[in-house]
Point group: none
Chain length 213, copies 4
DNA sequence: CATGAATGAGCCTTCATTCAT
DNA sequence: AATGAATGAAGGCTCATTCAT
């Protein structure tokens, strides 16, 4: 039954593409079937409903993010390094898979629209917890090993940084054209790098003088 | 014709609430009519189409944000102060009108789905430009008057801060329940305040020692 | 209450114009009200329903036709002359009031669509009887006075001629462009005149030789 | 795919009947679906829109008429004979398929309301041209072979006869009840036969004496 | 397993008619 | 008498889902 998984993947491929370009409601099962080159009825052999298909895409996005997180953090020595390897992974994820990123961000909101619950929601939710736990641990670790020097509760700092990173990830790309109107120097990459540099500088507690030099 | 505006507002009230909780596509004109306590046909006396109603909500959201921006920035002395009065206004806007905030954030995306353009899109886009210009001006001002001490192009710094603020605004509230699982101290307000304090401290270029104390 | 009739006429004017150019179903009471420059509610002060308005137009068309019939037949000396004065009146009516003509022709069909009965139907029906009676009388008269020489029951000949005239009236104009494709000589007027000349010649029983000359 | 055509035909059957009895606008897709005993959505599997269904009926009507024309004219020896075989075919068509006849007559008018053009319009228009060309050719032929003796341009005579035949076809049936009020002898068939006899007599140029006998 | 024809609930929008002012 | 805001039934069309083959 190797074949089954392959076909299922093809269907999710098709669905993914259409959901991303048109949104959930605007994508019809007809379109997905056509795109996946199967009959409409076949979709229902692999996914119980359109909703289910949507979840499958969410699953994929989350797994992709988890993969990039796990892959990246191995070489870190200090808490600060680990934290920033996560940050970089996150930004890289957004850059390389902007659709997956958007999907995850919008998931919760969209989901309310789909239905008030769903086992798949839980699954991605747990994924988020896992990721954020890693970030928080790295902050704690950094505070303990002295690589992070900020006078703030680690949970709060981690949350705050998480929000900042999400904001940079989301809007750096989305609004690149917008920002560029004011200066050609303001590219998505520059924003991302600027954020990483500035934040690392600040939370590592270096003196002002060191930064100016 | 006082009455007309009042009724129109009631309809937008109803539409707003439903769009916020279910999204554009998932909200039917029937529901809006029921919620607004008018007949379905009446909706079309006030708004040419469902799309038009959606725009009316967008208009409202943008005007609300602009109002809070304009109202807040008057008393500022330095560029730094002005910048942070904007930041506070933005966070306050998100806190007091989270739905409007989400609406504006999602506006662009949703709108592409509605139609490829539209005068209303332009209207909100221009609103964004206006707001961001103010932010950028305050950064430049702060760099000139010495209240902001960061070695970075003002446009880039402004863009970066904008992204961060958006991130904090959006996720502090949205994920409050999420963050709280790790520490009861991590509330949306704490995240917002933490962000403001930390960032003000950093970009005003105070020495580490001063912060620790 | 002179005013009442005047306003009623203005409304029928508006309705007439719109019914003719768009048809019954496609014309809305809103349009009629706008065209007549009165409020929508006012229409219902003068006409019980849209249907009623439609009938009023039918009434007008029939009265116009009757008027032209009565006006024309006075000077006739023989039955043949009277018959042809009717024929000419009919063709003239179609030419000068093609919309009224179409209206009358389509009345029956349309009416079935409106409802299965209606007093107005009767009214126009009686108008038709009146007109056709006149035609038939003129045929009888012509047979008696020798101006019509056809060996056929007068009722049948009258019916037959009526059908022919209706056909010429209806299609000469409607299909003018169509016929013209085959010869620029074939105009609506030529068809009408050709019909009158040929038919008069035939039913007056002139010899072939006379015609050829 | 034999089945597909069969079902498509059943749908057109239903649509035809309803369009004939109520008109285009007054017939709803719901009714058609009910009449055809299929679900409403099914209609759209076979016809892209209500308009398309209407065209399909028009197509049918035209093909039916063409079929009867082609079938009839084979045996004719002279132009006159051919002309009258067409005339008979036309009258027979109207008699056997009065709804199709009406449909074709009203087609043009109705269609303008539907949309300003359409390939189907062209299709029936071309059908008309084809038919009329045959009629005109037979008139020319008859003038050449001497079977038609009328001093008139063939195009004009053909046009005129066409109008007359249309009139007889349309009104003989439609007004049968009307005419009968004046004499029980005036039936639709008598009108049709009377028209054929009288006209044939006249345009074949026979002497009056021969007719009287 | 795979198909795709069939279903029917649901959507946006229109419009004849009513009625409080 | 006149208004025009309000109504709500209907209409054309879409699409997720089912099921006989």
């Amino acid at each position: 039954m190797k074949n089954r998984e392959a076909k299922s993947n093809m269907i999710v491929d098709a669905a993914e593409q259409l959901f991303f370009s048109q949104g959930f409601k605007a994508t019809s099962m007809d379109q997905i079937a056509r795109e996946a080159d199967v009959a409409k009825g076949t979709l229902y052999l692999y996914f119980k409903s359109k909703k289910e298909l949507y979840y499958a895409v969410g699953q994929r996005a989350m797994e992709c993010l988890k993969g990039m997180f796990d892959e990246t953090s191995v070489a870190a020595k200090t808490g600060l390094e680990r934290l920033f390897s996560y940050a970089k992974a996150f930004l890289k994820f957004q850059k390389e898979h902007p659709n997956y990123y958007d999907f995850i961000i919008n998931y919760q909101g969209e989901k309310y629209k789909l239905s008030k619950q769903g086992r798949e929601v839980k699954s991605t939710y747990e994924g988020s917890i896992h990721l954020f736990s890693s970030v928080m641990d790295s902050v704690k670790e950094g505070m303990e090993d002295g690589s992070i020097k900020v006078d703030m509760e680690p949970e709060l700092l981690a949350s705050l940084l998480w929000c900042e990173i999400c904001g940079v990830a989301q809007f750096a790309g989305l609004r690149e054209l917008f920002f560029k109107q004011f200066s050609s120097e303001v590219t998505a990459d520059n924003i991302r790098d600027g954020f990483l540099n500035l934040t690392e500088f600040f939370i590592s507690g270096q003196k002002k003088e060191e930064f100016d030099t």
